[in-house]
C-alpha cells in the first residue's frame, strides 16, 4: 500500500512497544505537557505531520515563518513548537542532547530527544504566520502564551492513547485511514474540514466538491469519497460540543443524505490557529498525510474576524508549485438559500442575487438557541434531533460548550496507567 505522505516522505510511526517503552523511559526527567502539546505528540507520532518527526528546531521555525518551508525545503506553514520556561528548564537541569519524558494526565506519554533549546521572537512569529501582532487574533494570543524557550527534537510515543467513546470509531491514524480507503475502493477522496454541526450549506459544499473531485472518472462504480475530518481541540464557550459535531456529521450518511459508500466521518486532534491561508495550507498537508487526493476550501477557510479576505485561502494555492503538494485544492464559493429557486443553491450558479438569503453555522446556532427548529431544507431534522440527544448525553443539558462541559466532560482520550 502507498504510505507516501507530504514532502514525498514515507509515513513513519514513532511508537514503541510497551516492554521497550518501560525500559526506555527509566530514569528520564518527567515534564508535564499541555493539551495542545499532547495532541501534537499524537499527531507527530502517528505521521499526521509527516515529514516532521518531532518538534521544530530553530532553523525549521525560522524558515517556516519567513518562507513557509521547513529547513529542508519542504512546504510547511505553521510552526510546531514545544515551549518551556527558562526557569523550568534550569530547575530540571535540561540541556541539549538529553532525553526527557513528556507526561500527560500524570502518565508517561513520549520521549523528547532534546536537540536544541532556543528562543524565538514571538511577535515576529505572529506577524509572519498570522499577518498581525494583535492579541485579539486567537492564533496570535496562543503564540504570545508560549513560554520563553522552545525545545526542538524528535519524539517517540511510549504510551499510545485510548480514544474514548463516542470518538473511538472516528479516529484513524494515517496508515489506518489509507487502509480504510483501500477497503472502500476509493481512488479520489475529498476532505471536508469542519468544526461545526452540519447545516445543508455544508452538506451541499460536500456534495459539490465530491462532483468536482470525481470529475472525468467513470460513474458506474463508486471510486470517489468524501471524508469529513473534524478538528477536535481546544473548545471555547458557546462552540458546539465535540460529540455533537462528530455524530451529527455521521448521521448525514446514516440518514441517507449521503450514500453509505461515498461518505465517512473522522477526527484529527488539533488546536485551530485560525491562520486563514496558512492554515489552509496546513490542512492540505494534514489531509495529504491521511491519504486524501483533494481538499475542499470554502469561503473564509480557517479565518477569524476580518483578518483575511474571504478568498485568501484559495489564492495562496496559486503561489505553491504543484509539485510541492500531493493534494489538489477544490475551491468553492458559498451555497445560499434562494426563495425564487426554492432551494439551497450554489452562488456561482444562482442569478437571484437580490433575493438570496445567506446562512451560516453561527446563524443556525442562534436559531437553535432561540428555541426554534430550522426547516429541513436548511437543517436536517435528524441532525437537529441528534443535537438535542447529544446535549442530554454529553453536554449536561446543553449542545453548546459551557463552563461545566469544559470542567467535567469526558476527555477525548486517556493515557493508560503506566509505571515509571
Amino acid at each position: 500500500m502507498n504510505h507516501i505522505g507530504h514532502g514525498n516522505k514515507e509515513i513513519v510511526e514513532r511508537v514503541i512497544a510497551p516492554e521497550e517503552a518501560a525500559r526506555a523511559i527509566k530514569g528520564l526527567t518527567p515534564v508535564p505537557v499541555s493539551n495542545q502539546i499532547a495532541n501534537e505528540i499524537i499527531d507527530i507520532a502517528y505521521g499526521f505531520f509527516t515529514p516532521l518527526e518531532g518538534f521544530m528546531t530553530r532553523a525549521d521555525v525560522d524558515r517556516v515563518c519567513k518562507e513557509m518551508r521547513l529547513a529542508n525545503g519542504v512546504l510547511w506553514s505553521i510552526p510546531i513548537v514545544f515551549d518551556m520556561s527558562s526557569e523550568e528548564i534550569n530547575e530540571k537541569g535540561i540541556k541539549e542532547g538529553d532525553k526527557i519524558l513528556l507526561t500527560f494526565q500524570n502518565q508517561p506519554m513520549a520521549i523528547l530527544e532534546v536537540e536544541e533549546i532556543f528562543a524565538y521572537d514571538k511577535q515576529e512569529m505572529a506577524q509572519r504566520v498570522y499577518g498581525t501582532t494583535e492579541e485579539k487574533h486567537p492564533g496570535v494570543a496562543r503564540t504570545y502564551r508560549y513560554k520563553d524557550k522552545f525545545l526542538g527534537g524528535k519524539i517517540t510515543l511510549v504510551n499510545p492513547p485510548k480514544i474514548n467513546p463516542p470518538f473511538e470509531e472516528f479516529f484513524f491514524t494515517p496508515r489506518q485511514m489509507r487502509q480504510k480507503f483501500a477497503e472502500k475502493g476509493w481512488q479520489r477522496i475529498v476532505a471536508h474540514q469542519t468544526r461545526n454541526v452540519p447545516h445543508t450549506g455544508h452538506e451541499w459544499l460536500m456534495k459539490g466538491s465530491w462532483l468536482q473531485a470525481h470529475g472525468e472518472l467513470p460513474v458506474e462504480k463508486t471510486i470517489t469519497g468524501v471524508l469529513v475530518n473534524a478538528i477536535i481541540g481546544e473548545k471555547r464557550k458557546g462552540d458546539y460540543i465535540d460529540e455533537a459535531i462528530v455524530l451529527c456529521h455521521d448521521v448525514l450518511r446514516k440518514a441517507g443524505y449521503f450514500r453509505e459508500d461515498v461518505h465517512m466521518t473522522s477526527i484529527t486532534l488539533w488546536d485551530m490557529r485560525y491562520a486563514g491561508p496558512r492554515e489552509a495550507v496546513f490542512h492540505a498537508i494534514l489531509r495529504t498525510n491521511l491519504g486524501l487526493t483533494h481538499h475542499m476550501f470554502g469561503r473564509d477557510h480557517a479565518g477569524v474576524g476580518t483578518y483575511y479576505d474571504p478568498y485568501d485561502a484559495h489564492r495562496i494555492f496559486d503561489q505553491i508549485p504543484e509539485a510541492d503538494l500531493r493534494i489538489k485544492p477544490v475551491r468553492v464559493l458559498e451555497w445560499w438559500y434562494c426563495p425564487v429557486c426554492a432551494e439551497v443553491t450554489y452562488s456561482g450558479l444562482c442569478g437571484h442575487i437580490k433575493e438570496r438569503q445567506n446562512f451560516s453555522g453561527t446563524l443556525i446556532r442562534s436559531i437553535i438557541q432561540d428555541g426554534v427548529k430550522p426547516p429541513r431544507l436548511i437543517f436536517r431534522p435528524e441532525v437537529f434531533d441528534l443535537i438535542m440527544e447529544c446535549a442530554e448525553k454529553y453536554g449536561f443539558g446543553d449542545a453548546f460548550v459551557t463552563d461545566r462541559y469544559l470542567k467535567e466532560r469526558n476527555p477525548v482520550f486517556v493515557l493508560p496507567e503506566m509505571k515509571y
Binding site: 464557550k237 458557546g238 469561503r299 473564509d300 479565518g303 474576524g305 476580518t306 474571504p310 458559498e334 438559500y337 426563495p339 426554492a342 438569503q357 445567506n358 446562512f359 451560516s360 453561527t362 446563524l363 446556532r365 442562534s366 436559531i367 438557541q369 432561540d370 428555541g371 426554534v372 430550522p374 426547516p375 431544507l377 436548511i378
Partner: protein, 96 residues
C-alpha cells in the same frame, strides 16, 4: 446591507406578537422561518459586542449579530412589542 440582530420567532414569541397585533412585523426567511430583523448602527453593534461578550458579529456571511443570550434577545423582543417598532436599539442600550 445594514447590520441586524435576528430575533427568531419561536412559539412563545409568535403568541406575543399575535396578541399585540404585530404578527405582520416578522419576515419569513430560509424556507419558512419567521424573524424580526432589528437594525443596529455600527456604534450600537460595537456596544452590543462589548456589553455581551458571548455575542458574535458575522461579518463574512450574514452581517448580523448572533449568539446573544436568549434572555437578552427576549428583552430586545419585548422592547419591540412595547414600542411597536423595530427601531429600538438606542432605547434598549440606554440600560447598559
Amino acid at each position: 446591507m445594514s447590520i441586524t440582530i435576528n430575533i427568531w420567532i419561536n412559539e412563545e414569541r409568535l403568541a406575543k406578537l399575535q396578541k399585540a397585533g404585530l404578527a405582520e412585523m416578522a419576515q419569513e426567511v430560509l424556507a419558512g422561518l419567521k424573524v424580526l430583523k432589528v437594525p443596529c448602527t455600527e456604534e450600537q453593534k460595537d456596544k452590543v459586542l462589548k456589553v455581551f461578550p458571548t455575542a458574535k458579529y458575522d461579518s463574512a456571511t450574514t452581517r448580523s449579530i448572533e449568539l446573544l443570550p436568549r434572555e437578552v434577545k427576549d428583552k430586545i423582543f419585548d422592547k419591540v412589542v412595547e414600542k411597536q417598532s423595530l427601531d429600538i436599539m438606542e432605547d434598549f442600550l440606554k440600560d447598559y
